[in-house]
């Protein structure tokens, strides 16, 4: 008997069927990743020339969101890091549309912003931030884009949801929630900034 | 010679009768005619008209036999219901001598599908500088009566006056291509809203009307006959109406395409719609139809202008002007004049046979359908509608502006002096 991934269960009582994360869950997950970033920033940048007075290594950190929803996630992470550590970290966005390998399959689409901190990303710890990690192709496109934008010291990946089905040797360094899904399911991340509400849903249907 | 018994045809749309054709003439008309040995043509209610006469055909031979020959053009004409066509002079060499017009005339006789009546050039080489030997062409075997520099305007007013006067000696007529050349330098299409938007140099209506106005005054002054080729504007119709009311001996033709198509066709930039004079506006079309209906415009002239593919499959500005017309002329007249009730079948016979024959001084064409008259006849089925397929045309060229368009009317049979040139809608030779 073939095993199919179990449908995701409702995480908290009272939420709608198919809800993977509620608004409160999203906030908790972002807090956790923010803490992990603070810890890791120190170790990743240890031994490198950090600016005087920065023992945390956080001044080296740049959170780069992948639009659409990676961008607000990056900003929220930065806000939480600042709340926990008192240090303002740089935030940027990198639009990957012009680097995608599926334009011919899926057609052209409107571009979104690419904004980097004034100092650029050379020699810094870049953490790419996205909502869902699936095939890994978006991350690959983002890595290609970063290569044209500068030479970071290292690049890491933070995602809200990892739903599996990787098609490339890519993994996330920070994961909000691992969710086994079937390919036919859709994982939808809604954020207040873009959708008016924080939640993550799993629905049946053709993957987009 | 074959004797034909046409059963049940309706002359000019009247009652069905039988028509007996013998020795090139109509021998008898009546009910239930019989003739032993006659080839019977079941007309079954088809309309019978006198064979059509075109005042304005480009046959391209000699010179551009890749676009059309006298023979292929004659076949196209017969299939269109014509029994006589006037072959324009802008060949290579130009038909400006007795030798060239006789050559064209002879080629027409050899083809034997329609009477090919050569038009002589007004000026040597169509250059508009000095008169060609008009008298020699008139006296030649081709018996030229219509003279035209068509494709070019005889723009020099003094030269035009002399031409009008000179041809009176042999009852000739000058057919003017009315286009003031200084106003149409580089012109590509009708000058108006569309030319402004499409960025194609405009061909103003005034460039036609100015020459027509001048020439009717000249014709009046010298008491000569003037024919106007392809009038295309409402203003031209107005001037003609005025001139005729003064008794000026002026006649005019309109092309099928100017009765049907507008400058909107240029929006495709497909040069199949490039023609000189250009396609005009809806208002012009309306004036032309009204003018043809009331007789201000005397005739339909096809301005059949075959062009080789390479002269049309190009940029608009590089393409040569002109479009095919012989095989669809009658259909377009049915569509634009008969079906809307503006012309009855007698009117069609008048504008497409009787008057053009008179203008060209062709005694054996444009005659009544009556015993003793030459058996130049066309039988047509006006109700059948068909989509025009350029590949199916008899012309050697394919530049039909009606490609893909559904038009009414089918020529079933054409008789030239009693000989069937078309039977069952197919050329017999």
């Amino acid at each position: 008997m073939a095993r199919t991934p179990e449908p995701a269960r409702s995480p908290s009582p009272g939420s709608a069927p198919g809800t993977l994360l509620t608004g409160a869950d999203v906030a908790r997950v972002i807090d956790r990743i923010a803490h992990q970033l603070i810890e890791r920033a120190a170790s990743v940048t240890a031994g490198r020339d950090a600016p005087a007075g920065d023992a945390t290594g956080l001044s080296s950190l740049v959170l780069v969101g992948i639009p659409t929803r990676g961008a607000p996630l990056a900003r929220r992470l930065a806000a939480r890091i600042e709340a926990f550590s008192g240090i303002t970290v740089d935030v940027g966005t990198v639009d990957i549309t012009l680097y995608r390998d599926d334009l011919r399959l899926r057609g052209v689409r409107a571009l979104e912003s690419t904004v980097l901190p004034d100092g650029g990303i050379d020699d810094r710890l870049v953490v790419l931030v996205d909502d869902v990690l699936f095939s890994g192709r978006s991350v690959r496109a983002a890595l290609d884009a970063l290569r044209d934008l500068g030479r970071p010291h290292s690049v890491q990946l933070a995602v809200l949801v990892d739903r599996g089905h990787r098609e490339l040797p890519i993994r996330a360094d920070y994961v909000g929630k691992n969710v086994p899904t079937s390919r036919s399911q859709q994982v939808r991340v809604h954020l207040a900034e873009t959708d008016g509400v924080d939640e993550v849903l799993v629905t049946e249907g053709e993957s987009q | 010679m074959t004797t034909h018994l046409i059963k049940g045809a309706r002359p000019l749309g009247g009652d069905a009768v039988d028509i007996l054709v013998e020795d090139g003439r109509i021998a008898a008309i009546g009910d239930s005619l019989a003739a032993t040995g006659a080839e019977v043509v079941e007309a079954g209610g088809l309309i019978a008209l006198p064979g059509l006469v075109d005042l304005h055909t480009h046959l391209r031979e000699p010179g551009r036999e890749d676009a059309e020959t006298v023979e292929t053009g004659s076949r196209a004409a017969a299939l269109g219901g014509f029994t006589a066509v006037h072959a324009m002079a802008n060949t290579d060499p130009v038909a400006d001598t007795a030798g060239v017009v006789e050559q064209v005339w002879r080629l027409g006789q050899e083809a034997g599908l329609v009477d090919v009546v050569p038009v002589g050039a007004v000026t040597v080489g169509l250059k508009g500088e000095r008169l060609a030997e008009l008298g020699a062409m008139a006296d030649s075997a081709a018996r030229v009566r219509v003279f035209s520099d068509d494709g070019h305007c005889v723009s020099d007013p003094a030269l035009m006056r002399r031409a009008l006067e000179y041809v009176k000696a042999f009852d000739g007529v000058v057919a003017q291509h009315a286009e003031e050349p200084r106003l149409t330098v580089g012109a590509q299409m009708h000058e108006g809203d569309r030319s402004a938007r499409l960025g194609l140099t405009g061909w103003p209506a005034a460039a036609e009307e100015a020459i027509i106005a001048r020439d009717v005054l000249l014709a009046e002054h010298v008491g000569a006959r003037l024919h106007l080729c392809h009038v295309s504007t409402a203003g031209s119709v107005e001037i003609l109406r005025w001139a005729k009311s003064r008794g000026v001996q002026v006649t005019a033709e309109v092309t099928p395409h100017h009765l049907l198509l507008t400058d909107a066709c240029a929006e495709s930039y497909d040069p199949v719609f490039k023609v000189n004079p250009p396609l005009r506006t809806e208002a012009d079309i309306e004036a032309l139809r009204a003018g043809l209906a009331d007789g201000t415009i005397d005739a339909v002239g096809t301005d059949h202008a075959p062009h080789a593919v390479e002269d049309k499959e190009s940029e608009w500005a590089q393409a040569r002007p002109g479009m095919l017309g012989l095989e669809q002329a009658l259909s377009v007249v049915i569509e634009t004049m008969v079906e809307p009730g503006r012309l009855d079948w007698a009117g069609v016979a008048d504008r497409m046979s009787v008057r053009p024959a008179q203008i060209g001084r062709l005694a054996e064409h444009g005659r009544p359908i009556a015993p003793g008259e030459p058996a130049n006849l066309v039988l047509l089925d006006p109700g059948t509608r068909a989509t025009v397929d350029p590949a199916a045309l008899a012309s050697r060229s394919r530049n039909s502006p009606y490609a893909g368009r559904e038009l009414p009317g089918r020529v079933v049979a054409t008789f030239l002096r009693g000989i069937a040139t078309v039977l069952d809608g197919k050329a017999t030779r």
Binding site: L98, V108, T114 | L198, G199, E315, W316
Partner: protein, 306 residues
């Protein structure tokens, strides 16, 4: 978006806005980068088919295509089979056989790109056809106006000069109207086409009357040889009545800008001090041309082959 960009009317307001937004994002993505290149059109072939000399437009398209990693082939009339009399159709079939994904065509005959579009499978971009249109010029002009003034809706644009022979004017009238700007044409009546009344633009003959109500003045190039055909009596009279000099520029509202599609006739339609003033966007227009053309190529060629 339609498959081809043949004239400004091929773009509705959403399409035109998408092109401008995309150009802005591309400009932002490339700003300050060392590697000014994107992999987007890798493996795609763009042919620059130029039947008319126009170094600046050809270079702009070439740079745009190369920055998107397309393979670019320049096919100019000089020294090619084109000058040996090969027809446009035969050239089109050759390009088709070579597998061109996009053909950027410049031609002296109005409508040549429309003809080409019937004969090739790739996308055709009109880079100027006769006296018809030059849609990417209008797009870069609209982009420049939006960039400088922050909007297009309700912006009052005055286009001055040889409208009759100007493909730039035709494209701008259509595109700016699509984008909500108000266009006024000013020229001697001889240099306005019969039928201009049907255009979505005001028409006037008095430049001084219009300038105080203009947010943008776009000066068109006027060729001196026009006066030989009696379009105007002399260069001096043209310049006096329709040229933009410092005195006239002073009549403009404070934040109004001066545009010119180039190449300029300094001293004829535009005075040097105006061309070089802070109001002038002439250099910006050139730079913006590359971003806008990248956007057009991306939107036409980036997606699925058709």
């Amino acid at each position: 978006m339609k498959r081809h960009l043949l004239e400004a009317a091929d773009l509705d307001r959403d399409d035109a806005t998408l092109v401008l937004d995309t150009a802005a994002q591309i400009e932002q993505a490339l700003a300050g980068r060392e590697v000014k290149k994107l992999p987007t059109l890798r493996g795609r072939t763009v042919v620059n088919l130029f039947y008319e000399d126009s170094t600046r437009t050809r270079i702009s398209f070439e740079l745009a295509a190369k920055r998107l990693s397309a393979d670019v082939i320049n096919f100019s009339a000089k020294g090619s089979s084109v000058s040996k009399g090969e027809s446009l159709k035969d050239t089109a079939l050759t390009l088709e056989a070579m597998g061109a994904d996009g053909v950027v065509v410049r031609h002296s005959a109005s409508g040549a790109p429309h003809r080409l579009a019937n004969w090739v499978r790739g996308s055709v971009v009109n880079a100027g056809d006769g006296t018809h249109e030059h849609p990417t010029q209008a797009l870069l002009d609209a982009y420049t106006i939006r960039h400088r003034l922050g909007r297009l809706d309700g912006v009052r644009v005055t286009i001055v000069g040889d409208v009759l022979h100007s493909r730039v004017a035709r494209s701008n009238v259509v595109l700016l109207q699509t984008l909500g700007a108000e266009v006024t044409l000013v020229a001697p009546p001889t240099l306005l086409p019969v039928g201009v009344g049907s255009w979505p633009a005001e028409v006037g003959y008095d430049l001084d009357a219009v300038l105080p109500k203009s947010d943008v003045v776009m000066m068109l190039r006027v060729q001196g040889e026009r006066m030989n055909a009696s379009f105007f009596p002399s260069a001096r009279e043209y310049s006096r009545r329709y040229g933009l000099d410092a005195r006239r520029m002073a009549a403009l509202p404070d934040d109004a800008i001066v545009m010119h599609p180039g190449p300029m006739n300094r001293g004829m339609e535009i005075a040097a001090e105006v061309a070089d003033s802070v109001r002038s966007t002439i250099v910006e227009q050139v730079a913006n041309g590359v971003s806008v053309r990248m956007a057009v190529l991306y939107l036409l060629l980036g997606g699925a082959a058709q």
